[in-house]
Symmetry: C2
Subunit: 208 residues, 2 copies
């Protein structure tokens, strides 16, 4: 599987292909042409061929794509063929919403714990996921495998907590706090800045 | 203010400029050079000049950018100089997290109501925001100004609810349901597909 030289734009479109292929699989569809897929996805068939040809040999002339194969290959490219162990910092509404989101688990993202500074929550659980106090963060990470830490806390706390996480070895952060994190180069940070998305919507409303 | 011909890439960067300028304003900084701003934002000064020059005449040689002016101008471009009235469909953890997010209100996004099919929630409120039953959706929209509807419901319900919303005149949807909405062309939809963001993170972890 050749992945070098694949543009960021194509990679950013892969999860959407993955979603549509998952739906096709659920519907029992075994193969699909780029044309049929293009109608479903509202993109051109040539874009689909262009994107998927980068991964070589999935489509066959006159046959189309094998849904199951393509689904599995894209999963592999996205790293979904392995399990990821997550902890969520912040057990407020957002943290709980993320802990609750069963769809993550089906993709191999396992939430192992929630952490919160609210001492009343400590020792309780959210749908079976234990809630720990913030002072338990380092000991937990030392004892358990943590691949990804999710920051569902205000920006005032995020910078300090991100530092604590990386200092005890966490190398990937999914950041919902509305601030940029200045972390060592080997730490992968994916930001979800919700208010920026809302501003894009506002801009597009104005343009309409 | 010339906005035509501004690339999508620049527009997508504007909320981040807006955030940094807001922080500078809070710190009492009145002006800043592209160089200083570039150090803060970890982008090149030439990118900053290139992006901001599209909006003409904000920077002055040897003076830099007037923080207050630039902040206000970007707000105008993003449509943040007017109020937006929001309703949130789904009063689960995610809906409540969004209703709770005070930062939206400070940017002129006012949450006027939550809607949920859970009859136990009907008539209650979340921090002063009333929760309505789903059958109250159409009457509410007829009586009140609703600029944006937020979908914080599972994908199984989202398609039907989006149709109901657009049929009674809502023209902008902020969609958290993990599905694409096929709506009339004059409806603006901004998707937040959280699991796709998590897959991007997973991909980048694998590449590291």
């Amino acid at each position: 599987m050749e992945e070098n030289g694949i543009s960021k734009a194509i990679i950013s479109r892969l999860p959407r292909y993955y979603r549509y292929l998952g739906e096709l699989k659920e519907e029992g569809v075994e193969r699909i042409s780029s044309k049929e897929l293009s109608i479903r996805m509202h993109v051109t068939a040539s874009q689909i061929r262009h994107d998927l040809n980068h991964f070589g040999g999935f489509g066959q002339q006159g046959y189309g794509y094998n849904v199951e194969n393509l689904y599995r290959e894209i999963a592999k490219i996205l790293g979904l063929n392995r399990k990821h162990h997550l902890i969520i910092i912040g057990a407020g509404n957002l943290g709980q919403a993320l802990a609750n989101y069963g769809n993550f688990e089906s993709k191999g993202f396992l939430v192992e714990g929630l952490f919160d500074q609210n001492t009343e929550l400590k020792g309780t659980n959210k749908k079976g996921i234990p809630i720990y106090g913030m002072e338990e963060l380092e000991p937990f990470i030392r004892k358990n495998r943590v691949d990804i830490a999710v920051l569902a806390i205000p920006k005032s706390a995020a910078v300090v907590v991100a530092k604590r996480l990386t200092e005890c070895g966490v190398r990937a952060i999914w950041n919902f706090a509305h601030t940029d994190l200045d972390l060592p180069k080997d730490v992968v940070v994916e930001n979800v800045h919700l208010s920026e998305s809302l501003m894009q919507l506002s801009y597009r409303m104005k343009k309409r």
